[in-house]
């Protein structure tokens, strides 16, 4: 992320604005992409709930962001570089009129809100098959205010003119172009805490919980990559050279990540798998998210490949430590985010848009130290606060569904729906329309707990 470019006239730059409009729509597309990526990875009895956790997070976060989240993240700093003024841009009402920046500030607010959507939705992968939908929505609303908005303020809010931003970006000088800390490490560490609070799925480590539809996973992964160009290149906040360099890095790292993960699989397990290809691609993209503005294309190859390889190994940690991070949010996003954010300190080149040399380019260990501070702060803060929110929600309303319902399938009990009707003999019959035929909406109404 860079600071919003100032512009003399009150008319926005049409090229920059057009690109950020398109980039915002691309980032939104990552939400259904993620929903399919995750949905294909769970068993058929819980695919709808998996998809709904993303769509639910999308709806809730957008509203919370417009009301208060954007102000907390990008309002004038309250003092210590920790938090913005929560009431400065309430409802974005003050951003209706054109300002003095090349891109309308209200568009910047929307673009940033969609980052929060993806970060929140990512967390749901750690609690597949077992979370009450209402509890998830409450968690994600509170998390937006208490976890994401402050972290986004720290790293994404640049001081400019009268405006004072967050401590990591301005006082320390941590480099994070598109969200290795605020998006990837934040989602991964939040997910780890929540997975521990909820506990493992029934049968974790014993039952074969294999993906029910890998074609959905591949489609979702493809949509994620497509959307990621908006995520990373959009973070240049303009249609310019920086955006183009970042775009190239995003392409290269996804390809290298795929090959990195597949190489580990081929050597270790004997086969290159489709799930491995999708996962490696995502791991490469995760690592390039913070570093896309700091590397050469060759650096992006190294970054993607290393992240693909390390994440292929890291997804096994949950079996060693016994936490059920169901769809590997920790192993891919937290670990990949750390690799990408720290990697800047090693292989950044001053020829890239952020203009800093890393350790291996003769820049010394200075930047690596700054990056380590950023990683540590976001890791610890996200983990602790997410865990506390999870515990409070669990005490107040119960975060998990009944064991019996978890085994029979969360889709039916929470949403009163079945994802796939593949058999004409399933015995379904209408019990009258909801509008005119009375209130019978299905045989499972009595057991409904939502």
């Amino acid at each position: 992320m860079t600071a919003l470019p100032a512009f003399a006239a009150t008319v926005p730059d049409s090229g920059d604005t057009a690109w950020l409009l398109a980039a915002s729509a691309l980032v939104l597309l990552m939400a259904p992409g993620l929903a399919l990526f995750y949905g294909g990875m769970v068993r058929s009895k819980s695919v709808l709930n998996m998809i709904m956790m993303t769509f639910g997070a999308l709806a809730v976060i957008v509203i919370v962001w417009v009301l208060v989240g954007y102000s907390l993240a990008f309002g004038d700093d309250l003092g210590a570089g920790l938090l913005g003024d929560p009431f400065q841009h309430f409802g974005l009402s003050d951003l209706m009129a054109a300002g003095d920046s090349a891109v309308p500030t209200i568009l910047f607010a929307v673009f940033q809100g969609l980052f929060c959507v993806i970060t929140g939705a990512l967390i749901s992968g750690a609690i597949a098959d077992r979370a009450r939908f209402g509890a998830w929505l409450v968690y994600v609303a509170v998390w937006t205010v208490v976890v994401y908005a402050p972290v986004a303020h720290w790293i994404f809010d640049f001081s400019a003119g009268e405006h004072v931003g967050g401590w990591m970006a301005n006082r320390v000088g941590v480099l994070d172009f598109a969200g290795g800390t605020a998006v990837e490490i934040c989602s991964g560490a939040s997910a780890l805490a929540l997975a521990i609070v909820l506990g493992p799925r029934l049968g974790f480590g014993r039952d074969a919980m294999r993906p029910h539809n890998l074609t959905l996973v591949m489609l979702g992964a493809g949509l994620l990559w497509f959307g990621w160009f908006g995520f990373n290149a959009g973070s240049a906040l303009g249609a310019n050279q920086s955006a183009a360099v970042v775009f190239a890095a995003t392409l290269v790292a996804g390809a290298a990540g795929t090959l990195g993960w597949l190489s580990v699989e081929r050597l270790r397990d004997g086969h290159a798998t489709s799930l491995g290809a999708a996962s490696g691609m995502v791991a490469g993209l995760v690592a390039i998210t913070p570093s896309c503005g700091s590397l050469s294309p060759i650096g992006a190859i190294v970054m993607g490949a290393v992240a693909g390889g390390i994440c292929a190994w890291a997804v096994g940690l949950k079996y060693t430590f016994g936490y059920d991070d169901s769809l590997d949010v920790v192993g891919v996003h937290m670990v990949g985010g750390i690799v990408g954010t720290l990697g800047i300190g090693l292989i950044a080149t001053a020829a890239a848009p952020t203009g800093v040399d890393g350790l291996l380019y003769g820049g010394g260990a200075d930047q690596l130290g700054k990056q380590t501070i950023g990683v540590g702060a976001v890791l610890v803060y996200s983990f602790v606060i997410s865990g506390i929110i999870g515990l409070i929600v669990d005490k107040a309303m119960g975060f998990r569904i009944d064991g019996e319902h978890e085994v029979s399938g969360i889709d039916l009990i929470v949403h009163a729906e079945t994802a796939y009707d593949l058999h004409a003999t399933a015995g379904a019959r209408s019990s009258g329309s909801g509008l005119f035929g009375g209130l019978h909406s299905g045989d499972h109404r009595d057991e409904e707990d939502e």
């Binding site: 294999r210 699989e265 996962s279 292929a312 096994g316």
Partner: protein
């Protein structure tokens, strides 16, 4: 009357169907099933986690025949379904008390 039930490898199903048709069998019920015997299952690996998948896909064929034809049909199925490798499946014959054709109400031999 006898019920001949065969559980065979899915890729031998078309061979068995042709052999039965050639030998004069005019109808059968076929279903896709899964199970395991001495063949056991196979392993699959997802993100490095290895799963033993115990159930193997099979095709089940059911044919109701006259007592006199049962042995010949079993021989026909064996001839077409055998690969000699583990997992070829099984064929068994069981007695049937009554058969009724739904359309006409014909009973027993007339309904076959």
């Amino acid at each position: 009357m006898k019920l001949v039930t065969a559980v065979i490898k899915p890729h031998k199903w078309e061979d068995v169907r042709q052999a039965l048709e050639t030998s004069g069998v005019t109808g059968m019920t076929v279903s896709e099933v899964s199970g395991y015997g001495r063949q056991k299952g196979h392993t699959e690996v997802y993100r490095g986690a290895e799963y033993d998948i115990s159930l193997v896909p099979k095709v089940r064929i059911e044919i109701v025949v006259d007592d006199a034809d049962a042995d010949a049909i079993v021989t026909t199925i064996l001839g077409a379904a055998q690969t000699g490798r583990i997992g070829d499946g099984k064929v068994w014959v069981s007695p049937v008390e009554t058969v009724v054709r739904v359309r006409t109400g014909d009973r027993d031999e007339a309904a076959i």
